[in-house]
Symmetry: D2
């Protein structure tokens, strides 16, 4: 069956699998102390224009969020996030499970606004009885957001400036960062992120890896016992090579950016097809996730022929669904969707 | 350099890598809802002679221990473990991080004794002021233990009987379970474990997989919202196929048992070589980990030619070190060790 | 200085202090196993018309909320609360510190609406990917709310019916319960609460005690190891007599209700005075907390003569402030406020 | 019935109750911001010879331990304690509930030895794979210990020196500190503790208060948001006056030391009586807790006439029991015990 269900429905880019096979019998130390992890770190530091950066590889996104946030917050602190943030809604309370409140502020197509962030921080620091409240200890953003939208450089600069003013770290969840960095018209680059964020991660799982996320502390600011917190969160992989080899491969010969750009290109084509058939979009997304409004009738007709994700109900008749492309989407998939829509509707 | 540093210095059994490559472009649902996870579960249930068993796949050992223990214990409960248990010593406080005390009892070559377990439980339940104490809510064992030793069927039966008497679950950490099940003279089998334990896991990472542990709840007793706890622990892999395919492969054509038996066979040969050169063993281990006593002089001479693990200091002159074989150890490795010892000593 | 800052600015009702003095040298067992705790429990059970109720005494409100919620929720569950609930805003993240998310739903003058609660629960249970989300495991209400408002019996019945339908407990925070039960025109009684709630607490600290809250499990449903969780939360008082004697005293000769009614009566008078001077009220409160809108000028003039609490800014010119009466407010305090307002404005 | 069950079987010293009564109607701000808390803090700072000390008042011992330890440890750290420490055995896992392991080292009559502490710290810092282990982040002691024994100044100095060498705080649990400071032949004083410890608490509950413990940070080193952590632990008392007035009273006219000395004096008399009747002592205790060995026959005979605490079984025939005196023990109690023993044995 045709599937646009998510960007993690296939395995890994073939170059990764080949490299795993090729290096398979090399005897390497565990826990990330191997040469491939080392290589991958160097490549990431170079791409970030940030030779003092520190990098760590973890397996998945929720794990990464929970570990980074727990490592950076004090007991009395919470993390500010948009109400649609992944940590707010879709991580089964992982942040709270490590003792920290997610301090939700309003979202606008998945993004937060710097003026609302400023208000939140100002109000807190004006409060007289702060000992009864959760201290805002970090700002969390996703880029692209859970709605596929992007911040501009200016928006990120404003948010980062507030974080500096209030002396709290800015953390950017880049589960799908490749699609953001290669989107059309974006002015956000890896070096810019490295200069603005206190920590961010470059997602692998949704951008061609079997698994893996690369955490970057750009300012030589990895907490001293960070790998200990990683282990405590059950996030220290014995065969660290699995992550090192994948990221080494993704950051060789521009692969990460090429396959991300491909995913975006496929999304653009998918979008054009839906436009051709006069569908409405819930949101204008420049990346690989597209949010389309379907009525009940359309859902019934489509769901047995193509897999997609339910997002949210709009009203009795209409629902928002997500079609995702990825590094693995092929032209034929797009054509098959076109045929399907033309036949079925 | 020659290496017996651990049983996770190589990648994965080649059959696994081939299967990953072969299935790579199949579009599969995420989070373990794919056909390979399904197949692997069926094979495990069948090998356990346990059609009502429930199986879940996680990425690593510490993650598995922390998740299972957190899922099964109430807030006021701790887990009984030998003082050398992996959860007691080498998981960076992951159990405590989820709020539970590890209640340590004495170890004997890594094992607990049922009479000492009985005493501990009896004493607790005789105590008048139980509300000031941590309730023993589970028993944790490793098999093989961290010292490579094995329980007998009778020993496990006695421990399981106590768990039933005190109505607490028995949890067995099988990070290296393959090496235990294929050891010479063992009378412990998978169906026996399934009948005695309330939950156990079959280790993949150290037995030929890139990563992955298979948790078995043999009595249809997986907690209702277990997968939610898994997610909360950051342990729900997006591309669940990576685990499903590996375990499907390991439990096809007896692969898991064959490669484990090979690891044990290599350990036997390694042992004979050390015996030939009159080394002492710290412990009699029937599995793939061998604990050898080296003096400072020997360590100095060996350490630049062969990698091994420091275990513990015995005294000013002597140290216990670990040499580990695995599914990946080759005859040549053993021969090279023989040559090395003959040359160097 | 005149003070309406809060309902905990004085010590305790004198009858309590007398009783503490009178019983001071009696040798009593610790940790709540004394005769006064026993007596107080019997009196509460009787007032609740609930002979199977179980009662426990804790020291303060946040402690009580954190302990009860932690004891009743599973690891994967959160607690539904209005966005202005005490646990949402003013307990420094105590609920999250024990690992649970506060699932905020809209508030209406501090109250939740049953139809919005129904929608929240329905939406959750319709969700396909529940393992990524926090399970709603309890409903939390305050009565009176943080805004002094009250639920009607019918409103509580509707909420309780939903809790039963979704098989989750209803927990009512009664930090100021006395003022609710003795408000004019309320149809909510202790026996009604005992029949509708799965657990609630009767506040002492703000109703005449030095400290102390009485938790009631009306359905013989105190979790088996509840006192252990209490101890774990640092909430088991060594000299339990301090709580037993106070509640025994409060529930002798109707004292609790008499002094609460007095607090409400004082609030009514205070309200009439503010009305006489044409002040606006932010909210219509039938209990001992009154929320008045003051402009900057009025605040400047008043704040050196009378203590009150800042609540929230309305706009550049106006602020909501709280004036609280209590069991300890005297007629002269009210008269002094009248004189002050007449002089100053 | 005669009772030596514990040092918290009576209410409070009468001077405290009188002061509570006398100040009862004063309108005071909540949460410890009242004049009595202020006064008590000044008196404690003065007694510690430590004008830069910071003091906070909490309600009980377990609460204090859990709050202080949680406030000072990082996520990856545990607290070193003797295996008989209160936090190790009798706090229902409160330390683990906030995510931290209690790292137990051997005890000697309730005390730790500095050489064993040195070994533990040295071994940890020699360890190569520290990221798999819990970092030792604090040393916890009780003084007097749970067995009534005392450290000497020299012993504390050695331990403090190690803490400084390894840059971890020394925390002293002074639940019964009064009895330690007024014991015969002790060379440990409040100013000494203030110079050696990074934080300690002066116990009120067991030394004449209804409840209350005074935490002292002698080096102007209270964590910046400590009161927030206190609130998060449910340990911020609304009517802080209850604690302030009690400690103000205890540290007026030497009351705390006088009543402690009285408790010790009573213990000495009690000891002489047991010696007169040729009982054996389990331990030589210079403070208010005495540990006596009784055989089964003696227990049977005594237990209906005098209350005492079961401590631990020695063997089939003999049990260690605790007789505690306190500020409230009267000469007549001691005489009654003498009569009882002479009659019954």
């Amino acid at each position: 069956m045709l599937s646009f269900e998510s960007d993690y429905t296939e395995g890994a880019h073939e170059k990764i699998l080949e490299k795993l096979l090729e290096t398979n019998r090399e005897k390497l130390s565990g826990y990330g102390k191997d040469i491939y992890c080392q290589n991958a770190k160097e490549k990431i530091k170079s791409l970030c224009h940030c030779k003092h950066a520190e990098v760590a590889f973890l397996v998945g996104g929720t794990q990464t969020n929970a570990t980074v946030i727990d490592a950076l917050l004090h007991s009395c602190e919470g993390v500010i996030a948009p109400s649609t943030g992944h940590i707010s809604l879709h991580e089964a309370g992982a942040i709270e499970a490590s003792g920290h409140k997610v301090l939700e502020i309003p979202e606008h197509h998945g993004k937060i606004k710097s003026n609302e962030l400023r208000d939140f921080l100002q109000n807190f620091w004006c409060e007289q009885n702060k000992e009864h409240m959760v201290y805002p200890g970090m700002v969390y953003l996703s880029h692209p957001t859970e709605y596929g939208t992007l911040y501009t450089a200016k928006e990120l600069q404003e948010i980062a400036a507030l974080c500096r003013q209030y002396k709290i770290p800015l953390y950017l969840d880049g589960a799908r960062l490749g699609y953001a960095l290669t989107a059309q018209n974006t002015d956000v680059t890896l070096p810019l992120l490295a200069s603005l964020c206190d920590v961010f991660y470059i997602g692998g799982t949704k951008v061609g890896a079997l698994c893996g996320e690369a955490i970057v502390f750009p300012k030589n600011n990895m907490p001293k016992q960070f790998m200990n917190i990683v282990k405590q969160h059950g996030a220290l992989l014995a065969k660290g090579r699995l992550l090192g080899i994948q990221f080494d491969c993704l950051f060789t010969d521009n692969l990460y950016f090429e396959i991300s750009a491909h995913g975006n290109h496929m999304a653009k084509k998918l979008k054009e097809i839906f436009q051709k058939y006069h569908f409405s979009f819930y949101i204008e997304s420049p990346t690989n996730q597209q949010f389309i409004i379907l009525n009940n009738h359309q859902i019934e007709k489509l769901k047995n022929h193509v897999a997609f994700s339910f997002w949210e109900r709009l009203n009795e008749q209409e629902t928002v669904v997500r079609f995702a492309t990825s590094w693995a989407t092929e032209e034929e998939d797009i054509q098959a969707l076109d045929s399907l829509l033309s036949t079925i509707l």
